[in-house]
């Protein structure tokens, strides 16, 4: 077991859980596309926190940290692609409101 006291791990995991739920609810509730993008990033960072906290418990290998590196890199790429799509969406429809995305119906 890592140097951390047992119950402190729960604090971190609790925090990660709370952050994740905030991100998920933010994604589902908010209509502005940029806010949805931000809430996805929030969810990813909550997962990072959980990984680092758990890695502290399973002390010997650096799996958790390695995972975090990859998540950060992929999140950056995801944001790049996401912003490009949002930009072209904004260019075409003049708004970032996801309710306006109703050209495809039926």
């Amino acid at each position: 077991m890592g140097a951390l006291l047992g119950n402190v791990l729960e604090h971190y995991v609790m925090l990660a859980g709370v952050l994740f739920t905030i991100g998920a609810v933010g994604f589902l509730v908010r209509r502005n596309v940029l806010v949805q993008l931000m809430s996805i990033e929030l969810m990813l960072n909550a997962v990072n926190l959980a990984f680092v906290a758990y890695n502290r418990v399973h002390g010997d290998d650096m799996n958790g940290h390695m995972f975090v590196f990859f998540i950060i890199a992929v999140a950056a790429a995801e944001v790049a692609v996401g912003l490009a799509i949002v930009l072209s969406f904004y260019r075409l429809t003049g708004s970032v409101h996801s309710d306006d995305a109703d050209a495809l119906k039926g």
């Binding site: 995991v13 990660a16 994740f20 991100g23 998920a24 994604f27 596309v33 949805q36 996805i40 969810m43 990813l44 909550a46 997962v47 959980a50 990984f51 906290a53 758990y54 890695n55 418990v57 399973h58 799996n63 958790g64 390695m66 995972f67 990859f70 998540i71 992929v74 790429a77 995801e78 692609v81 996401g82 490009a84 799509i85 949002v86 072209s88 969406f89 260019r91 075409l92 429809t93 996801s98 995305a101 050209a103 495809l104 039926g106």
Partner: protein
Amino acid sequence: MDLVIALSPLLAVGFGGLMLMLAEAFGKPSEEGISKTTGDVVDAGAGRGAELGLGASVVLIAGAVMAVGVWIVGPETLEGVADVAPYLLIDRFSLFFTFVLCLGGAFTALLGGGYLPEHRIDRSEFFPLVLFSTFGAIALAMSGDLLSLFVGLETMSLGVYCLIGLRRGSARATEAALKYFLLGSFAAALTLFGAALLYGATGHTDLVGIGEAVATIGQPDSTVAAMPVLLALALTLAGLGFKVAAVPFHQWTPDAYEGAPTPATAFMAAVVKTAAFAILLRVLLVGFGEERLMSWGTGWPPVIATLAVLSMTVGNVVAGRQESVKRMLAYSSIAHAGVALVGVAATIRSTEDATASVLFYLLVYTVSTAGAFGALILCGSRGAEAVSYEDLAGIAKRHPAAALAFSLFLLSLAGFPPTAGFFGKLYVFQSAIDSELYVLVIIGLVNSLIGAYYYVRVMVYMYMREPVPGAPVAKPMSSGMVTSAIVLAALLVLGLGILPGVSLDMAIAAAARGG
């Protein structure tokens, strides 16, 4: 050195992608390419769609051939494979999937090579993107660890988001890309959180380690708590459910399929779904393969069975009422995901047969869907793309070959005997009956009845209906690449339908000896 041989399909596709990027950047635009572009920076790849398409398909077919080569060499004998083991498992299971994914990618590249120049979409980034997405899909199918699962999933998905949003001018394509992007990254975040909980509970990130740790739940000395594992199971199922487009998570599919250019839709329907099933099978059978989790009472089979029933029923019923053929094919791909889920649910008792049936079904599904979309592309030309039923009215008189090809693929999707689709469905339902899931089989068969209705409805429009005088009529286009893709798909559909012996034994071998 063995490692390079073992990973040859993956490296070929990746290296091919890089080469294609450079070729596209440094190639000189074709003369008619320059005249068309209005922007100040003349796209180097302008007007080069056909050549790049051919290059991409050659690379992907080479990948497929290498996969068969490594299969013949026998991945167990190559000892270099152990170095990269927990992250990329090179065994018969992943080689079979590599073959299917490369085949699907090759079809997409061929269709794209014909479709893009025809509809003046001059974004020839299409082909490097197809290569990189297939690279991600193969990595996903090969991955034996949550890390490479996530990286493969994201590489594939990012490529597909761009593929959809390629036609920047059209609001429909951008909107489709936006919807798929939002839901796709949401699904990836769910899967990730599941992975974090699994890592926390078991201390392993590789699937086999997780499987063994999960098996120790309940024993006195086990350090693994049941709660996070069950929560992780739910989250992973939700995340992969999005990717597989099972019903409760399918809202994005019709819009994404309809908005995207048709070759991209073929790619999503064939390759993305197959790769998602590959990883779903591996995660469920290896990560959560322990008896209690796999039993009908306490484990995931009832969840998968409900997903299957919902997907089949909703997919078929809603597909029947669609007006656009592309949207109908989107809902029918949801129904086919449902049938494959029946195979996954059937793994509770006859694991080998059920896994082999899912593998074979996915091979048949990839070929038939790619062929169907190819024929749909062939039926429409520049201004008059064939999308709705009315566009296809009376096309059998104007372009009998395209109509015949389209009917063949529709019959294969509907599951009529001489074609491969029937055998795939039969094999899945037989393994479901071996696991005594009678209700599932009955529902599946009734759904294939509904499915037969709307597949034959397209044939009715093609053969028996006259085009409404005023309506814009889709003129069939002539493109060598699309025709060659269709002929290849037709040969495979009939070949697998009449003589499925060889590929069937490969599927069984792939499912049986994991190592």
